[in-house]
Symmetry: C2
Subunit: 326 residues, 2 copies
């Protein structure tokens, strides 16, 4: 099997077969709403792909795929409240469509529901391991969100701290999806570790790519205007690297632009992008991204007991995510 | 053992030995804050009491007691946000002391932490059962909170619906604490069912007592002014029963007072209390409470494999909670 489109469809069918139809609708309707908003379903597909590396009966991993997708959407619901984000995937976020209390409570029930799905796995000897991995991932994601909030108020965030933050907030769930899928398939412990390390490094590379494209991407290809992160004063890898390399005059300019919101947006984006170019940030970012990507593929190649065609699919999927070229 | 004070102390020692000291402090300090605000520690004591009914080594149930207490406090953190409650146990609620985002995120990590504690139980063959009971309880508590929110906007709530709501919001966690303790002790399934039914009925009786005392209690004994529920337009058992029994003129008075907040509070409490007395609500409430209490004790007496002195302690604890006399 190991065909991404097929696995995606398998998951979508399972999602459709398991709606939240119970009462009270005020609690469960928002769960259906966010779960049906779409998205690439990347994380559940990773669960299924990881399972499929080691075993035939991929449908057995569907409850774990569901747990991971519910968890991901739970974080979107609560994060959107914390970030006061009105939109999610181009539609009203849950707390915008309903209200904040609904967002909190429906999110809570989603988090509990993740564990209900983990219990559905027909591998009870592995249950302790599955719940343990899931908990560690979930806790790290919360910690990542907290660091993200903390960093907004700080002016002395280091690149190492930033990488630790995106590792928790983004990469851990990618790694965890793969680890959970492989654990459900009762894969060898060593292979699970390599898959997980692969996922973590790909997750970091993916975020670096995301940071890169937001400023230096081709708006036509990326599908949105560049400079969004700069306008929002987000301290991404680009800015942190620039601060680390900047000469005093450039640093003062960076700090001035980042200290306020009263600048003309177009001018601010242009000026800052220029400084980033002067400091060679585009190339440096792609180099670091490449390092994480290389490290990821080293772990992927170290996996022993998996089907080669599955490994090839994971490599293809990674490249489509992090970009073959920038 | 089975001495309530000793079990309480055992739990408090365990709590003190397991603080949330890890980084980021913005996430975990609020967890320490709410967990150390005090309270009777009723639910963890119930876990320990239930375990102690069947086995000697009560310390083995401490992680489950912790899971239940963390869960209870998680609901307080998120409910206080939803209810915009500035105080909790006479101190600033978490979102008041910190902010709403902190309340949401620290609450989330607490909910995940419950499952970390369930994993610490040295009874892996029972893990699936423990997580399953915990999930069902947790989901019901969320549903209870949703019904409570829904009922505030409705004018046609029936007494049956109200009982279902308090069953979910309050009684389920009492029942669940007992079921989890007994399950950890690997008690016979039938006894677990009776303990759980005992807890559910005591929980409902406890809430009825609470409703009763809020309006008809002796302020000296209860420790607060009566009439709080009436001032807040809370549709408690008292009011719902009164609406069901009221003659048209009384019903109109009830509805008028409940339709607004522009009344003199003292006059409103006096008038409504008078109507409740005219309709014999105090006696009827205590009768219904007694029915739940009797049902609870029938289940308690049906437990077979437990130590008699433990059963006696549970009975004493219940009576101290729901009141020997009103």
């Amino acid at each position: 099997m190991a065909d991404i489109k097929k696995l995606q469809q398998l998951f979508l069918d399972y999602l459709e077969e398991n709606p939240w139809n119970q009462a009270p609708s005020g609690l469960y309707e928002p769960v259906n709403y966010i779960m049906q908003l779409g998205g690439k379903r990347l994380r559940p597909v990773l669960v299924l792909l990881a399972y499929d590396l080691f075993r035939d009966d991929v449908k057995k991993a569907l409850p774990v795929a569901m747990a991971v997708e519910i968890f991901h959407n739970f974080t979107l619901v609560h994060d959107d409240i914390m970030d006061a984000a009105p939109l999610r995937r181009g539609m009203p976020s849950v707390h915008t469509k309903y209200d904040i209390n609904t967002g909190i409570l429906s999110g809570d029930v989603m988090l509990i529901d993740c564990y209900e799905y983990l219990l559905k796995v027909n591998a009870s000897q592995r249950l302790k391991q599955l719940v343990s991995i899931f908990n560690k991932v979930a806790i790290k994601v919360c910690e990542g969100q907290q660091y993200d909030i903390d960093f907004e108020k700080r002016t002395d965030v280091t690149i190492e701290e930033y990488v630790e933050m995106i590792k928790r907030k983004t990469a851990t769930l990618i790694a965890g999806s793969l680890a959970l899928g492989a654990t459900t398939a009762e894969a060898p412990e060593e292979d699970i570790q390599h898959l997980s390390a692969f996922g973590e490094n790909i997750g970091i590379a993916f975020q670096m790519q995301d940071d890169y494209l937001d400023t230096f991407g081709d708006p036509q290809k990326v599908g949105k205007k560049t400079g969004g992160d700069i306008i929002q004063n987000k301290k991404t890898f680009l800015i942190l690297k620039a601060m680390a390399l900047a000469a005093p005059a450039q640093r003062r300019q960076l700090e001035t632009y980042f200290s306020g919101t009263h600048f003309d947006e177009t001018e601010k984006v242009e000026r800052l992008t220029l400084i980033l170019h002067q400091l060679n940030i585009p190339k440096l970012t792609l180099q670091i991204k490449q390092q994480y990507q290389d490290e990821a593929f080293r772990h992927l190649d170290a996996i022993h007991a998996a089907r080669p065609e599955g490994i090839a699919t994971l490599r293809e999927l990674s490249l489509s995510l992090i970009g073959r070229e920038a």
